[in-house]
Amino acid sequence: MKLPRIIIAISIIVVLFGGIAASKALGVWATSASRNISGGQGNQNEASSGEEHDSLEISGSTTIGQALEMGVPEEVLIQYFGDIGDRNAVIKDLSAKYGLSFGKVKSALNIYIDSE
């Protein structure tokens, strides 16, 4: 069977986007922080909802409480966000609220985690 390029092009679209749609339907598609992929579907779902955080660095779903657990000093977080009473506040959201670049905040906070 000779295969023209259009068939390859269509196959690529079908396999990639169809595969992603199928993995979403099966609950294996998780795009936010999850380090342990052997923990089963429950673990993946936790990751998708942002409840689990990457223990080694600040990510888009990391909360103030998680950052403190990772070793980021409280005074550093206060310096950036002032009141950090709400430990469930997401750092990315706070950065946006205070007009800070999350990329820069993330890099700055990760220094404290790396040095632990």
Binding site: S11, I12, A33, R35, L56, K104
Partner: protein, 293 residues
């Protein structure tokens, strides 16, 4: 007419170049609280990078874990590209990879400047040595990623740098490699793919066992070597029966009318039946043709 089919590949390249760019830009802006494209998912490039599954293969097999920044979605995309490669060969490189695409675009400028000298600057003997470096790159990336438990390749990754060059997430090493790759593309077709890409190395090896391969009908071939000159990866197609070379990216440029006017090359899953076309029955094979068969 077949030449027009190149546009199917070009269209796919443009689509993925723009689509992946939109994913990257969306994520960059989302970090400062702005969603630019609401119809594009807000995910990091790491979450959809198909190389992630290969990079962290050791920790994945031994401990069932991925290195930081990689997600379960990375594995899904890796597996899907793996399936495509096992069926069609390394079509990811020729139809999808944005870094391959931008190298081709720079290559078109280089082709205009240097004309027939383009992609012929590196002597064949040196090319044959240099092309093995991408396997060193692959092995080093896998081992270093395992040892460091982080994405060490990110420090020199031109793909990530290409979509993040205006942010503080782009590394100096990545920007230097990207710049060198793009300048190199003005002289050599796809220099990164040919000599350094660890993912291309992995896909190329898998592509050797793909179901569909480009095959050469020796009886129809007059060894004009037009296909050799057309091949962006400098493969000597005219000397092979099956183009199972690990560097073949299945771009299909060699099977176009502009490369093979005798339809001696076909992309198929079947074994080639060596029958001489009726119009060629009277043609006498030259010793060179016999040698190439």
């Amino acid at each position: 007419m077949r030449n027009k089919s190149r546009w199917y590949r070009y269209s796919m390249q443009i689509f993925f170049f723009v689509f992946i760019g939109m994913i990257a830009i969306n994520h960059i802006f989302a970090e400062s609280g702005t969603i630019l494209f609401s119809f594009i998912p807000n995910v990091s490039l790491h979450a959809v990078c198909p190389f992630g599954g290969i990079e962290s293969i050791i920790s994945l097999v031994t401990a069932g874990t991925l290195v930081p920044k990689l997600q379960a979605s990375t594995l899904v995309v890796s597996a899907l590209v793996l399936v495509l490669t096992l069926v069609f060969g390394a079509v990811f490189c020729s139809f999808i990879c944005p870094l391959g695409t931008i190298q081709e675009w720079f290559g078109k400028i280089g082709r205009k400047i240097f004309k027939k000298r383009y992609n012929r600057f590196i002597p064949a003997r040196l090319h044959n040595v240099l092309r093995h470096f991408r396997y060193v790159s692959l092995a080093a990336t896998i081992l270093l990623t395992y040892n460091a438990a982080k994405l060490v390749f990110l420090e020199v990754d031109p793909y990530y740098a290409m979509y993040h060059f205006f942010t503080d997430e782009a590394t100096i090493g990545g920007l230097i490699v990207l710049g060198a790759t793009l300048v190199g593309s003005l002289f050599v077709e796809r220099p990164w793919c040919k000599y350094a890409c660890p993912y291309g190395a992995a896909l190329g090896l898998l592509g050797k066992i793909s179901i569909f391969k480009i095959k050469r009908k020796a009886a129809a071939c007059n060894s004009c070597t037009l296909c050799d000159r057309q091949c962006p990866m400098n493969i000597e197609i005219s000397g092979m029966k099956t183009i199972g070379h690990s560097h073949c990216i299945r771009c299909m440029d060699c099977i176009d009318d502009t490369s093979c006017r005798r339809n001696a090359l076909v992309y198929t899953a079947r074994k080639i039946q060596e029958t001489v076309p009726a119009e060629d029955q009277t043609r006498t094979a030259t010793p060179a043709e016999g040698g190439m068969s």
